[in-house]
Amino acid sequence: MQTDERRKMVEMKGVTKYFGSLKALDEVSLDVFEGEKVVIIGPSGSGKSTLLRSINRLEEINAGDIIVDGFDIYDPGVNINKVREEVGMVFQQFNVFPHKTVLQNLTLAQTVVRRRSKNEAEKIAYALLDKVGIREKAGVYPTKLSGGQQQRVAIARALAMQPRLMLFDEPTSALDPEMIGEVLDVMVNLAKEGMTMIVVTHEMGFAREVADRVIFMDYGVILEEGSPEHFFANPTHERAQQFMRQIL
């Protein structure tokens, strides 16, 4: 691989984050290239969600630099809202807007932030609802939907902004087991289309199928990274071995 010629989508250098006296991220450095799919795994409390959330500045970091799509997002001169337009985020708790219909969930930011016309926004929204397989729910309020459907709405809502990077924060952890598949299918298809993705998950099957690189975190540090083949066959770090034994 000619790693150095590829465009860096995310560049983290010495990122450190404290929650009170707890060190959630300890000088983490990580590069993610355009088109790459990176899966972050690790025990709970390892700092993986914090790492992901710091990439679109939902967490403020205490030290280090994060460059997203060429913008230093902790530079006061950089408009974080502009950067976030290009970075889609999917949450564990879906966070769909309960007071808006499914269609309105998808068109709101398009019209308010991207300044698209209602017509154009709805056209894009319907195409995405087709893609995630819930076009027939366009006029329904999300509270009437199952968890899996809500999460697909949330993914479509993020995609409606046509982001260059998608962040997934344990997107299937709050779902009933029978609904995990429908959400992962959407994500696998997205990966096949070439989207740059950073995914925090416990779904090892997804990691194996989709990831270009698997990152194992614990104690706020990246302990090991490598291809899924390497990672699932013989992780080198002792904590990684232990974690894989527990989870598989």
């Binding site: 976030r84 985020m89 966070n95 993020a158």
Partner: protein
């Protein structure tokens, strides 16, 4: 007045799914779901008041019917003061509530100071202060003075209602809106406030009833509201007992009517 129950809100660490308890401790006898019988307190009070009023007017038209002919002008003024005050209080309350959750220390400090100061001074004193006290610098006519004083006072309480309502919305909603590229103002306007309205409406309705009753205080400023009209009638005819009986009955019927309306509205909202 309405007291927002959980004081924990001050600590900002809010459990995502914690429901806000907005304790309705004031207002007239608002019927609750448990009161299913025909003789609920609300029904007895409301229809009893109507029956008594009609009975008195028919049985002893002098002075009761004369009183009922004299005071309706005052009812209109009472409504005028109440509606204008509540609308202004809502605007003040919105900005106060936003100020109270602001991360900007200066704005937050101003909003908090306003709430603390206003809540610590009796409404009657505030009315005197604005009309008689500040009259030394700007002499406003009685009605605007009354409306401003009521709105400034109730704005502080409204501010706390708005703050609690906004903070009751899970943090994830703001995060989702912001991660779509919305500015703080856009996410507040398009995502948070429309959801907060549900929690805010019932206590606001309750404040409306409380304000309607407190509006009787403006009669002190020579605003010809319901109570003032009653006073005028009584002092001419010396029928104090009869007049204030009728004035009390009219207030009772109005507040019970609105209390019922609000509880119906509350049910509708929670049914959604």
């Amino acid at each position: 007045m309405v007291e927002i129950a959980p004081k924990k809100f001050k600590k900002k660490k809010l459990d995502e799914h914690q429901k806000v308890l907005i304790d309705v401790g004031d207002g007239a006898a608002i019927p609750t779901k448990e009161d299913v019988g025909l003789f609920t307190a609300w029904r007895v009070a409301f229809f009893g008041a109507i029956a008594l009023t009609v009975f008195l007017c028919v049985y002893k038209p002098d002075p009761y019917l004369d009183i009922m002919k004299f005071v309706p002008d005052g009812i209109l003024v009472t409504f005028e003061v109440t509606v204008l005050s509540i609308m202004l209080a809502l605007v003040i309350g919105l900005f106060t509530g936003l100020g109270r959750i602001s991360k900007n220390k200066f704005i937050n400090g101003i909003a908090s100071l306003y709430v603390e100061v206003i809540r610590g001074i009796p409404l009657l004193v505030q009315l005197f202060y604005i009309y008689f006290g500040l009259g030394r610098f700007v002499q406003l006519p009685p009605l605007p003075s009354a409306v401003i004083a009521m709105a400034v006072c109730y704005g502080a309480y409204m501010g706390e209602i708005f703050r609690a309502g906004i903070q009751a919305i899970p943090k994830g909603q703001t995060e989702a809106a912001r991660s779509l590229g919305m500015t703080p103002a856009q996410s507040m306007y398009h995502v948070i406030l429309p959801q907060a309205v549900k929690t805010i409406l019932p206590p606001v309705g309750n404040e409306f009833v409380a304000l309607l009753k407190d509006s009787s205080l403006v009669s002190i400023l020579a605003v010809a509201d319901l109570l003032r009209r009653g006073r005028e009638f009584a002092s001419q005819s010396f029928t104090y007992f009869e007049t204030y009986t009728m004035v009390a009955l009219v207030y009772l019927m109005i507040t019970l009517f609105f209390s019922k309306l609000i509880s119906i509205m509350e049910d509708k909202i929670s049914a959604d």
